[in-house]
């Protein structure tokens, strides 16, 4: 009787472990395929596994060099995790400092540059209200009007999370999705609501990053003309 029970426990445990492994592999495959729908937008697209949950995509869009990195943020306490997309446009910009605006800040955004910047500043009234804006070095100010023009309607978009500009380029962070709320509340399972990045969602972000860079590159003389 006892031998039978021990055997049943061993078989049950083994089956559970195998099932767990199989499901984990399925999730890993889903995460690896996050760029499958939008890869065609990029020339010279390279996807690399950088050791984190999601791969990183590098490629060229309209001749500009982009890097895309999804990031599952489950660090918040009493907060349903979010899946962010960090989109970086690498291009030299005529800026003497770094500017960051973080929407709906909670002071737990470990992936943001905001905490490292020196001075908190107020933005003009045409920016959305729920934000924290910072610059480095202290005292330096970016061209707010051109930044706002470049960002356009994206600034008002609820999933828009962060804009970072520096002499090295532009970074946008955007909320791709949350995790499935019920599954997280019940079992702390991190199952994103969407597993692929669609071109319809991505193209406006790529264009916004290019617009911000273009707006910053325009000289006051060109703008006046």
């Amino acid at each position: 009787m006892e031998a039978g029970l021990i055997a049943a426990l061993a078989v049950g445990g083994g089956a559970l472990a195998l099932w767990h492994r199989r499901v984990q592999r399925g999730f890993a495959a889903e995460r690896a395929a996050v760029f499958d729908d939008c890869r065609a937008l990029f020339g010279e697209a390279v996807t690399e596994d950088c050791g984190t949950d999601y791969p990183r995509l590098s490629g060229r869009y309209q001749g500009a060099s982009f890097e895309l990195q999804p990031l599952l943020d489950h660090i918040g306490y009493r907060k349903v995790p979010s899946l962010w997309l960090s989109l970086t446009l690498r291009t030299p910009l005529p800026l003497a400092g770094t500017f960051d605006v973080l929407m709906r800040p909670q002071n737990i955004e470990f992936w943001s540059a905001s905490a490292q910047l020196e001075e908190r500043i107020d933005l003009p009234a045409d920016w959305p209200v729920h934000h924290i804006a910072k610059v480095s070095p202290a005292g330096w100010r970016p061209p707010f009007e051109r930044l706002r023009d470049g960002l356009g309607a994206l600034a008002e978009d609820p999933p828009f999370k962060e804009l970072l500009v520096s002499a090295r380029g532009v970074r946008l962070v955007y909320r791709l999705s949350g995790v499935q709320r019920a599954h997280y509340l019940v079992l702390r399972s991190l199952l994103p609501e969407s597993t692929r990045i669609s071109p319809d969602m991505l193209v406006p972000l790529l264009d916004a990053a290019l617009n911000v860079a273009s707006a910053l590159k325009v000289t006051p003389l060109e703008k006046a003309a």
């Binding site: 767990h20 660090i75 979010s82 909670q106 008002e156 709320r181 509340l185 702390r188 972000l205």
Partner: protein, 463 residues
């Protein structure tokens, strides 16, 4: 791209779209199921079997008030951190520091209690086979293994988690069906012989309120804000209330089985009451099933506790309420690894005491302090930002009745704790007073006051 229109559609999401019936069921059992497997029975020692049942239902009312109040504030403070963030925005840094600490301590003590149960259970099984097992290595092993899982940030899959939770719940049901005779027509329940009147009268019932909290401790964890919190404004309270109702049923079922099998004098001291009930049934299959159920429930609970405690500690460190060093995130696993590691020795040291009722008391008291805070927090919240001044995802009805009821029940539970665990009550109060002094004198200068308030609310009324 998401648009305002999309957000508008999300406003209309109903409970059924957000939470299916299975989720509502699992909402209660998934988070606090371990409360059915251990801890609740200490209330029997205080007030007898009936006293325990009364405590279960009275404390259910306390948690209903908690759910109502927490839902309103959480659906308005669109930020992480639960009561901690609420305290930061509505009262101030000292309160936030204390509330953050209540949360960390409540979960760390619960984690210690879970590990202690795992060790004691293995010891009990070994004793059945004539072996004398030291439970402490298993306590350390349990905490270390779960801390490692949390450090690695392993993606626990829905399927496996669900199997574990479902198994633990089904084990209770199987025990119920076997004990009540619904399977073979022969009930082994002896309520007629075992149930006695209130052994210590109504003062005993009052004393049992303390452990009545164990049935539900942590259910408010379902009030989770999301980045788009307002879209789920209604699902937060409805989900929590669904979980509450499930727990009330599960708790009553557990009480019914145990009080019909184990005399109240023994039940009030048991470490693992459901497992003991299965042993008394004389069925090896049931015993194994309840052994696995108890292990699963304790391990799943401890795992969640490490997750929650380390994240609360991380949030406090980011705000510089604790040394900023703890606010680091692992570059590869994206977990608050330093917070996870720091809390291990604290949990182990409490688990090593072997005093389950004392460890549970510390956890309950920390939770109770948090609920007490909520009763006056909501009054201040409504006074500083009256209805209509800011957008609320949910407005709880009958204000201020829930906060008055909550305050009264919290006071009664403090008195209950004083009756049985006066030294623990006074020592934990002294602890929070001392750390508050430390915070004001030594820590507050490091706090970046300008970055504390992250909500775009209008200036409070009267300021």
């Amino acid at each position: 791209m998401g648009t305002a229109a999309t957000a508008g559609q999300q406003e209309k999401i109903s409970l059924l779209k957000v939470l299916g019936p299975v989720h509502v069921w699992a909402l209660g059992v998934g988070i606090v199921l371990v409360g059915e497997y251990m801890g609740w029975n200490f209330s029997v020692a205080k007030g007898g079997a009936y006293g325990s049942l009364i405590a279960c239902w009275v404390i259910g009312l306390l948690y209903t008030c908690v759910a109502m109040i927490d839902s309103e504030v959480t659906s308005t403070v669109a930020a992480a951190g639960g009561q901690y963030t609420q305290a930061k925005h509505i009262i101030g840094p000292l309160m936030a520091f204390n509330v953050g600490l209540y949360l960390v301590m409540a979960y760390t003590m619960l984690e210690a209690a879970d590990a202690l149960v795992v060790g004691d259970l293995l010891k009990a099984v070994a004793a059945q086979y004539g072996a004398d097992l030291d439970p402490r290595p298993f306590v350390v092993l349990t905490i270390a293994f779960l801390a490692w899982l949390n450090y690695r940030g392993v993606f626990m899959t829905l399927t496996v988690n669900f199997v574990i939770t479902a198994f633990a719940f089904i084990a209770i049901l199987v025990l119920f069906f076997n004990a009540s005779g619904l399977v073979d027509g022969q009930s082994v329940l002896l309520h007629r012989d075992l149930l006695v009147d209130l052994p210590y009268g109504w003062i005993g019932v009052l004393a049992s309120l303390q452990f009545g909290m164990w049935y539900y401790l942590g259910i408010e964890g379902t009030c989770q804000a999301a980045e788009e919190v307002r879209s789920a404004g209604r699902s937060i309270p409805m989900g929590t209330m669904g979980g509450m109702m499930t727990l009330l049923i599960a708790a009553s079922l557990t009480w019914y089985i145990c009080t019909g099998i184990i005399p109240w004098e023994y039940l009030g001291q048991a470490t693992t009451p459901l497992y003991d009930a299965a042993r008394l049934m004389g069925s090896v299959e049931l015993e194994v099933m309840l052994f696995i159920g108890t292990m699963f429930a304790a391990i799943a609970s401890a795992n969640g506790c490490i997750n929650d405690a380390s994240r609360a500690w991380f949030s406090m460190s980011r705000d510089r309420y604790m040394p900023h060093w703890f606010g680091a995130v692992h570059p590869r696993y994206r977990t608050p690894y330093r917070s996870i590691l720091f809390l291990i020795p604290i949990a182990v040291s409490f688990a090593f005491t072997g005093l389950l009722d004392q460890v549970i008391t510390f956890s309950i008291l920390s939770g109770l302090l948090g609920y007490t805070f909520m009763s006056f927090n909501i009054v201040r919240f409504r006074r500083l930002w009256p209805l209509g001044s800011i957008e609320r995802g949910y407005v709880h009805p009958y204000h201020p009745i829930p906060c008055i009821v909550l305050g009264v029940l919290c006071s009664a539970t403090y008195f209950a704790t004083y009756l049985g665990y006066g030294t623990s009550l006074l020592s934990i109060m002294a602890f929070y007073i001392l750390v508050s002094i430390w915070f004001v004198v030594r820590r507050y200068p490091f706090v970046k006051r300008g970055e504390q308030f992250t909500m775009p609310w209008p200036r409070p009324k009267g300021y």
